[in-house]
């Protein structure tokens, strides 16, 4: 992936841009080189770029003033939460302001009666649950980075987690958001009027505005959760088990698949006790009332055993934790095998799993790289982990090409490029594999409706930027391009 060449005209105005921002935020501007280095990327670690300047607002009024400033001075602006994006969603630009929202981390209202929590964008995902768990409630979306990632970032990326199939993604758990537009207008978006703009803001990867406040839905904690592990002699058997569970009308709280490579890696790393020689392991949670959970787990176990699986049910919390420890250490376990790792994120129709895994193994031979697969089996979200050594000539490029081929395969079998990590810069150039020119033109017109100058997080999501013209007309070929320095392919 090539990053954009900076716009030198903007770089030449750096001193006045910094001064202008300091007049808005006297104690919230980072402009020194060492300070900016702390903000030079996110969890897509292969890419590093310090921003032109970083601002740390404390209030929504300050956010509005910063956006107005960016707009008036035609400077790109990149929003950032905790910087845990795996797709480069918060990757700064050399010619852009980075607006980091971590200081806006107050919980504004806990409204148990209405099962709603109103928070600023910098509140972490886990802090939301922490704020209500003593009352028996929790916030359902639980991306693996939940201890660090912020709700603002979750909304931008429409984050998921292990429990999406039953409880939905971030967008399904939002009641309202307050958005500051690039013009500095503050608008509240909810379910009560007009188009479902909250629906498009969720998952818009910072391209439509900056969320400064959100009200999220909290759920009563299910009284009982039980975990079981099923080990299969073949991938098709594991896939069939998942299909049969769903067809039986069971929606497990979580249902995770690991392939043989992953099982071997985590066994060597933390010995969760998955059976040796298994070609695939499922770890499944059922939650709800005691009777519901009992009925679900006994049916799941029967389905799995009927397919020849070795099934183990956790009888206490310690065993439950152990069964999950393997799945939850897939990243570090693979990370130990090589210095660098790419985590891919396609979704496929579940029935295609055996075919996709087989074809991936073929690709791995061609690219001569190690990899393994973890799979949110309930919702078909596949996370191939590719390991490589970026210090070795050509390995990063090879890993990226392997990853791109995997995602194209996901699209080819009827799936999508990204299930929960977002497009960002990582999958930007793959968008045409899934969307036609007309599909992309419609998405870009929507972008233009919110940000006609193309200042919000440019270089993300769309492979090429097109000029916005009045009344929504888009001239892809004859338009004057607002960012002539962006690479286009």
């Amino acid at each position: 992936m090539e990053l954009a060449e900076p716009n030198f005209e903007i770089l030449s105005r750096r001193a006045e841009i910094v001064a202008g921002l300091k007049s808005i935020l006297p104690d919230g501007v980072v402009a020194d080189r060492a300070g900016l280095a702390a903000f030079d990327g996110d969890a897509l670690s292969a890419y590093r770029q310090a921003p032109l300047v970083c601002v740390l607002p404390r209030t929504k009024e300050q956010v509005a003033a910063v956006l107005k400033f960016a707009s008036a001075n035609a400077v790109p602006i990149v929003p950032r939460g905790a910087g845990t994006s795996l797709s480069g969603g918060a990757l700064p630009r050399a010619d852009g302001i980075l607006i980091a929202l971590g200081r806006m981390n107050r919980i504004l209202e806990i409204d148990i009666d209405n099962r709603a929590l109103t928070v600023e964008p910098g509140v972490t995902n886990l802090a939301i649950t922490r704020a209500v768990e003593d009352r028996g409630f929790y916030y359902a979306p639980d991306p693996s980075s939940q201890i660090a990632c912020t709700i603002g970032g979750n909304i931008a990326e429409n984050s998921g987690g292990l429990h999406c199939l039953k409880y939905g993604l971030t967008t399904n758990n939002l009641l309202s958001v307050t958005l500051v537009t690039i013009d500095g207008e503050t608008v509240r978006l909810g379910h009560d009027r007009g188009y479902d703009l909250m629906g498009v803001v969720a998952g818009s990867e910072g391209l439509l505005g900056v969320v400064v406040e959100a009200t999220v839905r909290i759920l009563p904690r299910p009284p009982v959760t039980r975990t079981l592990m099923a080990a299969f002699a073949s991938v098709p058997d594991a896939g069939q088990c998942v299909a049969d569970i769903i067809a039986a009308g069971i929606v497990p709280a979580a249902m995770e698949f690991m392939d043989r490579r992953c099982i071997e890696a985590v066994e060597a790393y933390c010995a969760p006790g998955y059976p040796a020689h298994a070609e695939g392991v499922l770890v499944i949670d059922a939650d709800g009332l005691q009777s519901e959970v009992d009925a679900a787990t006994s049916r799941i176990a029967a389905i799995a055993r009927g397919l020849g699986a070795e099934v183990r049910e956790a009888t206490d919390e310690a065993e439950r934790a152990r069964l999950w420890a393997g799945r939850k250490s897939a990243f570090p376990a693979m990370g130990r095998l090589a210095p660098d790792m790419l985590c891919m994120d396609g979704t496929i129709p579940r029935r295609k799993l055996p075919e996709v895994l087989a074809r991936m193994s073929e690709m791995a031979k061609t690219y001569d790289l190690g990899f393994c697969n973890v799979f949110h089996a309930g919702d078909g979200n596949l996370h191939p982990l590719i390991i490589f050594d970026a210090m070795k000539q050509g390995e990063l490029a090879r890993a990226e090409a392997f990853g791109a081929d995997i995602l194209k395969l996901c699209v080819e079998v009827g799936g999508v490029l990204t299930g929960e990590h977002g497009v960002g810069v990582e999958k930007r150039d793959l968008m045409p594999a899934m969307f036609s020119d007309d599909d992309l033109a419609q998405q870009q017109r929507l972008k233009c409706a919110f940000d006609s100058g193309g200042l919000l997080n440019p270089g993300k999501v769309f492979p090429t930027l097109s000029a916005c013209v009045e009344q929504g007309h888009l001239h892809v070929s004859e338009g004057r391009m607002p960012w002539p320095n962006l690479p286009r392919y």
Binding site: G160, P222, A247, S291, Q442, Q443
Partner: protein, 344 residues
């Protein structure tokens, strides 16, 4: 004009664009009076864009054309023990219309039913669409898998857009298992304050209730599951009695119909303020359905109500309305589709 496939919709949209002809998009026609008064030059009948394209129960995925009858979809799903979680409502009795309610119409007006409190609204179930925009281009958005964040979530915009953003030609939904049994429990003889408080309590218990409704002097809870689960759930509902059905008694007649999003804890106060003769509260009070006189329109609009049928005041221009206007223009800049219906 009748369109039988997407290519014909494209032709119609291009001709409309060239001739600046405004189109009213009609499916089964049961919801024709919904929304603001509109002006159009021609009717585009999409009822023949119909049928189930693909249904994969094990993937929880259903793809249909917009003119497919709700009843046909429900039957196909029920045969595999599944359903649409937002429980799309046929409004023909409420509106006094006749015809066949279609999925395209249900999506376009957000005809969410009681179970949406448990499973989410239409927007939470519509995963992908194909549509024809006001540029005369067929496009797709979203996907055909249950988890997808690739590109903007345009399908959500089409939920409740009343056909003003484009002509839907295909919709993909995630579906849910249908429970083995369901049970309606009621507390009769309760006023709105007490009733909504009871409903909120039930809502915060681990019941996964699929209906929490106050109507007239009764609170209703619908619970689902197998026999053992129902027995366990009933223990949380001490003092509630089994009844056969939920009777909202919502017969608006010729009155205007409003839907009002509200905080559940505000529901009884807001209902008192409006003092409508016919109303009920869904979703534990998060949605109030109100049959009102035209003279109450200003008050209902000020409370943030959505006028389903009747005379709605003009939308006051503000930053939010401006965003709606620009989004409309991003899909249909010449205002060819159902012009005026959203008031945008």
């Amino acid at each position: 004009m009748i369109a039988e496939n997407e290519a014909q919709v494209v032709d119609v949209a291009r001709a409309a664009r060239a001739g600046r002809r405004m189109l009213e998009i009609v499916g089964g026609g049961t919801r024709r009076g919904v929304g603001r008064p509109m002006r159009s030059d021609e009717v585009l009948d999409v009822s023949r864009l119909s049928g189930i394209v693909d249904y994969e129960p094990e993937e929880l995925i259903l793809t249909v054309r917009p003119g497919t009858a709700l009843a046909e979809i429900e039957d196909a799903l029920a045969a595999k023990g599944q359903r649409l979680g937002f429980e799309p409502q046929d409004w023909s009795a409420m509106l006094g219309t006749s015809g066949t309610g279609t999925i395209g119409g249900a999506i376009s007006v957000n005809a969410n039913g009681p179970a949406a409190i448990r499973f989410g609204r239409a927007r939470d179930h519509l995963l992908g669409i194909r549509a024809v925009n006001g540029f005369g281009e067929a496009f797709k958005a979203g996907g055909k898998v249950v988890k997808n964040v690739t590109g903007f979530d345009i399908p959500k915009l089409f939920c409740g857009a009343m056909g003003t953003l484009g002509v839907l030609t295909e919709l993909t939904f995630r579906v849910f298992p249908k429970a083995q049994r369901s049970l309606v429990l009621a507390r009769q003889g309760v006023g709105p304050d007490e009733s909504f408080a009871l409903l909120r309590k039930a809502w915060s218990a681990p019941l996964d209730a699929t209906a929490l409704i106050h109507a007239r002097d009764t609170a209703y809870v619908r619970i689902e599951g197998e026999a053992e689960a129902l027995a366990e759930k009933k223990k949380f509902l001490d003092g509630w009695a089994e009844v056969d059905v939920i009777d909202t008694g919502f017969v608006p007649g010729r009155r205007d119909i409003w839907r009002l999003a509200c905080k559940p804890t505000d529901a009884s106060r807001v209902a008192r303020e409006i003092a409508a003769p016919v109303w009920y509260g869904d979703w534990a009070g998060a949605a109030l359905w109100i049959a009102a006189e035209a003279s109450q329109a200003a008050k209902l609009a000020a409370l943030g109500g959505e006028c389903i049928r009747g005379a709605a005041p003009r939308i006051v221009p503000d930053a939010r309305a401006e965003l709606d206007r620009r989004v409309k223009a991003a899909f249909d800049p010449l205002n060819l589709f159902n012009p005026g219906r959203m008031g945008v």
